[in-house]
C-alpha cells in the first residue's frame, strides 16, 4: 500500500475569462488530499466551483478555464510529470456526469459507449469488455443485463442510464471515479437504489471516489470526508461524521440548517373555514380525445381536492405524477376532459377565454423557473405595472406607488423596478415572480415547484417569505413540489399524486405516523437523512410481487412497484378510497390495520 495519499491537490486556482476580458477566479487556492479507497465529497451551491475542481482532477477546464496549482492523482500530474492527467481520462480517472440522459450519445447503442473507454485505452479486447460490462450491469442491478446494452439511450429510463454511466466509468477499473451530482436529475424513490448500487460497486473495485453534490444528506451516505465550498473557496474540510455533528464554519451551519426546511410564520386558521377552490373528478391530459373520452396522453384521472380560504395545500409527486397539470387546469391553461373546478362556489369555465377577468384575478400562477417566467425584454416595473393596469386599472403615480409597495412586500428595494430581469439573481427573480402574482391581489396562488430551482439557502428564504405573505395577506396556496420536506414545512394539508391519481390526502400531521399509503411510505423513506449510515440502515426495499405486470389504468397504478400488493385483489380490481380513523384518505386495498402493522 502506498502511504502517500492517492489524490493530492495543492493551491488549485482555476480562472475563466471574465466579461471584461480580465481573468476571473472561480476556484481560489483549494488544497486537499484523498487516501486510496476513500471518498471525498465536494459540496456547495451553484457557483461554488465544485464541478470545476472535479473536472480539474482530469486536467479538464470548461470554456477556456485555466488551471494552475499542483494536482497529483496516483502517478499522474497536471503538468505531465510522471503521466499527464489528461492521458488518464477514461482510464485511471473516470467520470459520471449529472444527466446521463444528455451525456450518452443518442445515435449510438449503449453497449458501444460503455465499452469504448476499454477499447480506446486498450485495457481489454472487445469481447472481454462486453463480458465485464454485463457483469457490471448485473452488479448495478440493471434489468436483463445481457441485452440491455443493445438499446439506444432514448429507450431507457433516467435511473437506468445513470447506472449504465457508472458501468461506463468502471469498465477500465479506474483508480479514481468522479461522480458529478449523479442522482440530482433522478426522482427521490429512484435515487436510493442508484446510490446503493454505486456504493456497492465502487467498494468492490476498491476505487477512490470524489463525489460532487449540493445535497448534504446524500453526501453523508457516500463520503468519508467532506469539503464545503463557497464561491470557489474552502469553507470547511473534515471527516463526514465530525463535520455533520459539529460544523465549525458558519456557512456549513447555514447549509445544515437549510437541509431541514421549516418556516417561522404560521398562519392562523380562520375561525369559520369556507372552501375557496374545489376540484372534483378531474380527468385531464394532452392530445386528441378518443371515442371513450380519453386523451391520447392521459395525465390526471379522477383527482379531487379542496382548498379552504387562506389554507396552504401541498401537492406532491414525482416527475410524471401530473402535479403541474393540476395547476394548469386550475389556471385555465388546459381544459379538463371531465370534472369541475369551482372558485368560491362558482364553477369556472374550462379555459381562460371563458372566465371573467375577476375570476382570473383571483387565481394566479407562479412557475418554477424564474429565468423563463419573467420576460427578459421588460423591466420589473413594467411587469408588475402591467398586472396592475390589467386587473385594477392602476396607472401613473398610483401604479408606481403600488409597485414600490409590492417590492417592499417581497423585500426588494424599490430601485429594482428600473432593472431588467436578466440583471437579477435567481432568488431575486423568484421574488419578482411572486410579486407579479401578488399584484393581482389574488385569493389563491398556484405555486408550481417555485423553490426547486433555487439553492438550499435561498430556498429557505423564499419559503419564509411565502409563509409570511400567507399570514399577512390571507392568501391561499396550492403548493406543488416533489420534495416532501418542503411541503411539510409550508402546508397544512398534503395531497400525494402518483401517476395522475390521488393516493393519499390529509392533514400534515397524518404523514408523520402510519397508516400511510405504500407509495407515501416509499416516498418518505427514500428521502436521505442527514446522518452517516442512513443508506446502509435502509433495508433493501421488499420486492414487489407484481413487478412483472404492466401498469394498468384500471388497477392501482402502483401495482408493479408495491411490496404490499395482494394477489387476487390488487391485480384484479381497482383499489377503494378509504377514510382512516385519523381522518385522511387512502387509495388502497390494504386496510388501515394492515398498513399500520
Amino acid at each position: 500500500m502506498n502511504p502517500a495519499p492517492h489524490v493530492e491537490v495543492r493551491n488549485l486556482i482555476v480562472t475563466v475569462p471574465g466579461p471584461d476580458g480580465a481573468p476571473l477566479r472561480i476556484v481560489d487556492d483549494v488544497s486537499f488530499e484523498v487516501a486510496r479507497g476513500e471518498v471525498l465529497a465536494l459540496i456547495g451551491e451553484s457557483g461554488s466551483g465544485k464541478t470545476t475542481i472535479a473536472l480539474a482532477l482530469m486536467g479538464y477546464g470548461r470554456g477556456g478555464a485555466a488551471i494552475s496549482g499542483r494536482i497529483r492523482v496516483g502517478d499522474a500530474t497536471l503538468d505531465g510529470g510522471g503521466a499527464s492527467l489528461a492521458a488518464q481520462r477514461g482510464r485511471q480517472i473516470s467520470y459520471v456526469a449529472q444527466s446521463a440522459a444528455a451525456a450518452f450519445n443518442p445515435a449510438r447503442r449503449v453497449i458501444d459507449q460503455v465499452i469504448e473507454p476499454a477499447l480506446i485505452h486498450r485495457t481489454a479486447s472487445s469481447g472481454d469488455a462486453r463480458a465485464s460490462a454485463v457483469e457490471l450491469f448485473r452488479a448495478l442491478g440493471l434489468p436483463s443485463p445481457e441485452t440491455i446494452g443493445s438499446r439506444y439511450p432514448h429507450e431507457l429510463s433516467g435511473g437506468q442510464l445513470q447506472r449504465l454511466m457508472a458501468a461506463m466509468a468502471l469498465i477500465t477499473r479506474p483508480d479514481l471515479v468522479i461522480f458529478d451530482e449523479p442522482t440530482t436529475a433522478l426522482d427521490v424513490t429512484t435515487q436510493v437504489s442508484v446510490l446503493q448500487a454505486f456504493r456497492r460497486v465502487v467498494r468492490q473495485q476498491g476505487a477512490t471516489g470524489v463525489y460532487v453534490s449540493h445535497d448534504l444528506a446524500v453526501v453523508a451516505q457516500m463520503a468519508d470526508q467532506i469539503l464545503v465550498l463557497n464561491r470557489g473557496r474552502v469553507r470547511e474540510h473534515n471527516r463526514t461524521g465530525k463535520l455533520l455533528a459539529a460544523p465549525a464554519d458558519d456557512y456549513t451551519q447555514l447549509l445544515i440548517a437549510a437541509a431541514h426546511p421549516h418556516v417561522k410564520a404560521q398562519a392562523a386558521v380562520p375561525a369559520k373555514p369556507e372552501p375557496l377552490l374545489e376540484i372534483a373528478g378531474l380527468h385531464a391530459g394532452y392530445g386528441p380525445i378518443d371515442r371513450e373520452g380519453r386523451p391520447t396522453l392521459p395525465v390526471l384521472s379522477d383527482v379531487s381536492l379542496t382548498i379552504m380560504r387562506g389554507a396552504a395545500v401541498g401537492v406532491i409527486g414525482e416527475s410524471g405524477s401530473g402535479k403541474s397539470t393540476v395547476a394548469r387546469v386550475v389556471a385555465g391553461l388546459l381544459a379538463p376532459v371531465t370534472g369541475t373546478v369551482s372558485l368560491a362556489g362558482e364553477p369556472l369555465a374550462p379555459t381562460v377565454s371563458g372566465r371573467t377577468r375577476e375570476q382570473l384575478r383571483r387565481v394566479q400562477i407562479v412557475f418554477q423557473n424564474a429565468d423563463v417566467a419573467l420576460n427578459p425584454a421588460h423591466s420589473v416595473g413594467d411587469i408588475l405595472g402591467r398586472v396592475l393596469r390589467f386587473y385594477h386599472d392602476l396607472r401613473g403615480a398610483d401604479a408606481q406607488r403600488r409597485v414600490a409597495e409590492l417590492l417592499d412586500l417581497i423585500r426588494l428595494p424599490a430601485a429594482v423596478a428600473e432593472r431588467r430581469c436578466d440583471e437579477l439573481s435567481g432568488g431575486q427573480k423568484q421574488r419578482v415572480n411572486l410579486a407579479r402574482a401578488l399584484a393581482a391581489n389574488p385569493d389563491l396562488i398556484l405555486c408550481d415547484e417555485v423553490t426547486s430551482a433555487l439553492d438550499t439557502v435561498v430556498r429557505g428564504a423564499i419559503l419564509d417569505l411565502l409563509a409570511d405573505l400567507r399570514r399577512d395577506l390571507g392568501v391561499a396556496y396550492m403548493f406543488i413540489s416533489h420534495d416532501i420536506a418542503t411541503v411539510k414545512a409550508l402546508c397544512d394539508e398534503i395531497v400525494v399524486l402518483y401517476k395522475g391519481t390521488t393516493v393519499q390526502s390529509g392533514r400534515r400531521e397524518s404523514y408523520d405516523t402510519p397508516p400511510l399509503h405504500p407509495y407515501t411510505d416509499l416516498l418518505i423513506r427514500s428521502v436521505p437523512e442527514l446522518r452517516p449510515g442512513w443508506l446502509a440502515d435502509e433495508t433493501v426495499q421488499a420486492a414487489a410481487p407484481f413487478a412483472h405486470m404492466p401498469e394498468s389504468t384500471h388497477l392501482c397504478r402502483l401495482l408493479p412497484r408495491c411490496p404490499l400488493a395482494i394477489s387476487g385483489r390488487c391485480d384484479a380490481i381497482a383499489p377503494p378510497l378509504r377514510k382512516t380513523s385519523a381522518g385522511h384518505m387512502l387509495l388502497c386495498h390494504r386496510t388501515e390495520a394492515e398498513l399500520i402493522g
Binding site: R355, I365, V372, A373
Partner: protein
C-alpha cells in the same frame, strides 16, 4: 442599446466586422447622395471611346456607349440599395407578421399558414421570381414586390420557429393565464424577444434580395432601361467581358462589396451568439 454600449460593441468587432460596417455605411451614403455627386448625367454620352480604361476624366472608364461608368454606378447603386431596402422591409414585415399570427393564433391558422409557406418555399427562389416576372412584368413597383414576396417564406420559417419557441415559455403562459389577448401576447411578450435573433436574418435576406435583384437585371428581366441598377450595368457591358473592361468589372465588384460588407457586419454583430 445605449449609445456607449453600441460604441463599445463596435470597438470590440474584429477587423472584418469594422470593414463590413465601413462598407455598409459607405453604400448607405452613396444610396442617399449618389445622384447628387455624379460627375456626369448618367445617360449622357461623354466619351468617344467605348470601354475606355480609367482616366482622370472618367475614373472608372466609359461603358459600351461611351457613358461615364462612375456616374452610372452612383445612380445604379441608388436603385440597388434603395429597392432592396424597401423589399427587405416588406418581406420581413409580412414574414414576421404571419409568423406571429401563426404562433399565437388558433392551431388551424398555424397549419394553414405553415402549409402555404412550405409550398412556396419548395419553389427555389430564383425560379419563383422568374415565374412572377413572366406573369406580371417588371415595373419598379412590381419588381420590388416580386423580390420581397420571394423571400417572405424564408423569413416566415425562421420567425415562426423563434416565435413558437418563445410562445411556449413560462412568461407567455403567465400572460395567457392572466387573460391577455392574442395581439398583446404577440406584440408585447413575444416580438421584443425576436428582434435580436431576427437581425441576422434580416441582413441575410437583404443580401439575397440584392443578389436576386441584380441577377434579374443581369438577365434583362429586372429594371428596364432607361433605369439601370448595378445588375443592369453588368448586363449592358457584357460584351466588354472579352477585353476585361472596367465597365463590367466595377459594377460587379460594387455589388459584391455591398453584399460582402453586410455579411461581415452581421457576422461580427452576432458573433457572441453564434459561437
Amino acid at each position: 442599446m445605449k449609445r456607449g454600449n453600441l460604441a463599445r460593441a463596435i470597438r470590440a468587432f474584429p477587423w472584418s466586422g469594422k470593414l463590413g460596417l465601413a462598407l455598409v455605411l459607405f453604400w448607405i451614403t452613396i444610396a442617399l447622395v449618389g445622384r447628387l455627386i455624379a460627375p456626369y448625367p448618367s445617360g449622357a454620352f461623354v466619351s468617344y471611346e467605348v470601354f475606355a480604361g480609367a482616366s482622370g476624366k472618367f475614373w472608372f472608364g466609359s461603358d459600351f456607349l461611351g457613358r461615364d461608368v462612375l456616374s452610372r454606378l452612383l445612380v445604379g447603386a441608388q436603385f440597388t440599395v434603395g429597392l432592396s431596402a424597401v423589399a427587405v422591409t416588406i418581406a420581413v414585415a409580412l414574414g414576421t407578421g404571419f409568423a406571429l399570427t401563426a404562433a399565437v393564433g388558433p392551431r388551424w391558422l398555424d397549419e394553414l399558414l405553415s402549409r402555404a409557406m412550405d409550398t412556396l418555399i419548395s419553389i427555389p427562389s430564383k425560379i419563383f421570381a422568374l415565374v412572377l416576372v413572366a406573369a406580371f412584368g417588371s415595373s419598379i413597383l412590381l419588381l420590388t414586390l416580386i423580390v420581397s414576396i420571394t423571400y417572405v417564406p424564408g423569413n416566415f420559417r425562421i420567425a415562426r420557429s423563434l416565435a413558437v419557441g418563445l410562445a411556449r415559455l413560462d412568461y407567455v403562459e403567465v400572460a395567457r393565464a392572466r387573460g391577455e389577448g392574442r395581439p398583446y401576447i404577440a406584440l408585447v411578450e413575444i416580438l421584443p424577444n425576436m428582434i435580436r435573433p431576427l437581425f441576422a436574418d434580416i441582413g441575410l435576406r437583404f443580401v439575397f434580395i440584392v443578389l436576386l435583384l441584380s441577377g434579374l437585371s443581369f438577365l434583362g428581366l429586372g429594371l428596364q432601361p432607361p433605369d439601370a441598377d448595378l445588375g443592369s450595368l453588368v448586363r449592358e457591358n457584357v460584351n466588354g467581358l472579352g477585353e476585361g473592361a472596367l465597365a463590367i468589372l466595377v459594377p460587379a465588384l460594387a455589388i459584391a462589396s455591398l453584399t460582402v460588407g453586410v455579411n461581415l457586419l452581421i457576422d461580427a454583430a452576432t458573433q457572441g451568439k453564434v459561437q
